[in-house]
Assembly symmetry: D2
Homo-oligomer: 296 residues x 4
């Protein structure tokens, strides 16, 4: 990852350099940073973000529409071939949009087309807060919006995209609150101790394409993973499955099991709805029972 720019340094730049440094925060729309440069210095990243969003809020409807139109379609192979901004490409790849099934690809084509036909501008979504499934859900929901309201949603999403890009570009305080966290904890209630050495996988589920393995870990002596399963970024909205290799754990501890074991791989399937929150999904487990819950 590139070196971040300190907020103080950004504040101190000549106006043109300031705008250039922030050029990529908004797709092809340098006018926003140029206008915000007048309001320097910014005490916090949140203040800077507020100033940038304020420029958009005060812009004419035409300029706002042009900003929306500056965005690429999601998962559009032709645009991708011609060239997206590096930021757009990374964001779309992160959400798995470069590895779609045929069904998913066709759904994207159809959804983009239906959306454009209704609203006349491309569908804008902060994809780093989403999985493939939740993008389709967002299409379905927003296609019901009246056009005026939908333009507002698009602008809000542009604000979310900009916030995440800002947090990566500029070094500052934690005031942007762009990161969530997904964590787990395995308690062995047969032995009355944290379950250490349990292998686990995190899978992103998909209704129309392939499920996607997005993490593996082994629990430490405290029954937790050394690093959270997802952290330092939004936890994408969507459906997930954690798989805990419990049978192997108890077998290693010499616990007498049935053959096959009553519990071998324990799947816990759950939905994420708030990308910027901490979601804790623990497991209390014996060879014959388990409990899971949304913890904190």
């Amino acid at each position: 990852m590139a070196q971040k720019l300190p907020l103080a340094a950004l504040n101190a730049l000549p106006a043109g350099d300031f705008a250039a440094a922030l050029a990529n925060i908004f797709e092809h729309s340098p006018w926003i940073a140029e206008a915000a440069a007048q309001a320097r210095p910014f005490a916090t990243l949140a203040d800077l973000r507020t100033a940038l969003i304020g420029v958009i809020d005060n812009a004419s409807p035409e300029r706002r529409l042009a900003l929306i139109n500056a965005h690429p379609d999601l998962a559009n192979r032709t645009q991708r071939a011609v060239g997206l901004t590096a930021e757009s490409t990374a964001e779309q790849d992160g959400a798995g949009l470069d590895r779609l099934s045929d069904v998913e690809f066709k759904l994207f084509e159809r959804s983009n087309a239906a959306y454009k036909q209704k609203f006349g501008f491309p569908f804008v979504l902060c994809v780093r807060r989403h999985t493939r499934d939740s993008i389709f859900d967002a299409f379905a929901r927003r296609l019901q919006n009246p056009p005026q309201q939908e333009a507002g949603e698009a602008i809000r999403e542009i604000g979310r995209i900009a916030t995440l890009r800002l947090a990566e570009l500029v070094e500052g305080d934690s005031s942007l609150a762009v990161s969530g966290r997904l964590s787990t904890h395995v308690l062995d209630t047969h032995g009355g101790q944290p379950a250490a050495g349990v292998q686990l996988e995190l899978i992103e589920l998909s209704r129309h394409g392939a499920d996607r393995l997005i993490g593996r870990a082994v629990t430490n002596t405290d029954g937790r993973t050394d690093r959270a399963l997802i952290e330092g970024r939004p936890v994408p909205i969507g459906a997930y499955e954690l798989r805990f290799h419990i049978g192997a754990y108890f077998a290693r501890h010499g616990v007498e099991l049935s053959d096959p074991a009553f519990l071998d791989v324990v799947p816990v399937r759950f939905g994420v709805s708030e990308p910027e929150r901490h979601l804790h999904v623990p497991l209390l487990v014996t060879p014959w029972s388990y409990t899971t819950y949304r913890g904190s």
Copy 2:
């Protein structure tokens, strides 16, 4: 299902008719029923079974080997084309051996061949007590046996096959104990009541082929299913998944959920090891937590 023959009527038949009536209990081996006819009358089905098994136990090694050799290979398409006994066909189809994936089919071919090469007789297994996965596990385990011991295992399996066929053919007491039971119960611990109207599916899992939907049900006002998920027959050894449609249940009850719901379809994956026992797999569930366990 054909009308069953009462045990009393069977006891009263001429010896030849008795043997004819039981001809299909053992594959192509009428001599067993013929010999057992001498020991009539039988007070219970278990007594009859004991007499039949006793005939085999007292037979010469050659006759016992011939009995084993009278059995078909599992999942052998050539033999199937030529014609198995109706009983063998039904039993193999019940275990899904007529709908194998290519990988599974090749595994069967290879396993049958390896087994025959080592032992010189076909692999005999009471498939109604098994799933595809547990058949492969049985192959793997029994291929490790010394030949003498393996002939004993094959005879034991022939006894199990005969017991199940006997229980279907003859009407009598419950002394054969061939049936297990798989049941569930959904408790809504958010509302403090049985969860009625919860859709659920029972899936047989497979390591090498396709998972197989083997049952659907909806819970009744007591949170149970009107009939057990499996009953009146052995619960095949293997791995299963129950899927409880919990999100839809709570949504119908007007409970406020996140979007997507934290819990939507709850999968509970478990192994069955004792086909003739009652296995109870309940779910205690709120929109934010659940507990499952091996009940009784």
Copy 3:
């Protein structure tokens, strides 16, 4: 317990004998059964009950008031010395009103006095549906009633008393539905089996007096008690504690425990609000964890 009178025999009695047989259903008020005798024969006990209650509902306000006034005070030692009906004595003793603490006794005196002063008639309650605590709660609640409404409540309680007496006196169908049930089940989720041989006690809790041991049992091989903890009668409204001797159970099974054990006697405290329902209070337990819930 005295022999019950079959409903058919009751239907066939001369009117005078019929009224005499039911004389004790209502305290000192033979006129009710006398009037109901005209409506014979009764197909079910519920029909008979309806007829009896109908007589009261159609009686003049003066007669209804006289019926209420025919009832003794609760826990009144003077009246007890002079003599209650045998039915009243048994019912009050069953609720523990013969073994009150001094504080409880004074509370009864004060409550009875306050009630009589406000309403001019004695407090009537079907005490077999209550514990000491819930009697005090009923006093507190009903003292808020307007007099007209309170007379109605008293009559309703007289109907409940009569229903229970009727169910004990006359042999008939189960149409009166006077009985509830309290049951438990102990599952050993450490061993994956019902917990057999667990000693347990059922305690009725009291805010103003001594807690009262009302049952002891040992779980059977299915982890249940051979008989329900309470059955064949209402489960009195109130607060209870079940105490499960879990430490001793796991020690007997050779499970390694800490010293002292993390779990020894597990108390489960719960309230009963519906005396005629089945309340199931199970325990899923390991040496290091447990779960309990309102089951069914």
Copy 4:
């Protein structure tokens, strides 16, 4: 609490002052600190403790016996009237030995007498690691010891007492590890959130005397208590009950409850066996169910 002495300052004192500073670490036995003074400087508190214990280990049997005999009886009212060291008084009071029931007091008298008769020296125990119940358990267990072994146990307890006094007297590193921790966490699995504002009490249970309220707290927005229930000292070995006021919590949240509530005050009774460890006792709770376990 008095100002602590830094270890560096202690190291720098003249030998006599060093011994004087540590005089109260061991009851009436200045010779131990005097001898240990030779080994200065000490890098850590654990090193200092090791040196002090080493002096005892290397002392003659007579001196070791004199050290044991320098200790008071537990809960001896006569000695208390005459005067214990301030340290002994505070320690015994902390364990509740100044508020014994008559039964407990007699048990102490009898236990002390039996012990002295058998061993000829007073019973020494680090009471800050114990409750009344576990002191009686220790009496019972140690009375079974052969005299030689018991003298060793007494010396070990003197070491534990000294370690705790040292940790309070000298400011240093955390190398003595004298503190445990008892914590809780309440999760509302009905609402899917931490349960904030739950009142709870911690009770020390007693077999022979009165239970003793030793803490009250209210859960914060994270469902935890702002400070651990016990911390910064050993968690005394014994039996405890946590009482969670769950009914009031759900009533405040507008959840529909039965009357009386199925769950009102939830008691969780547990044993503590390792005073220097962290014991976490959480509660996952709905109005109709709960789960608790030994967490970490």
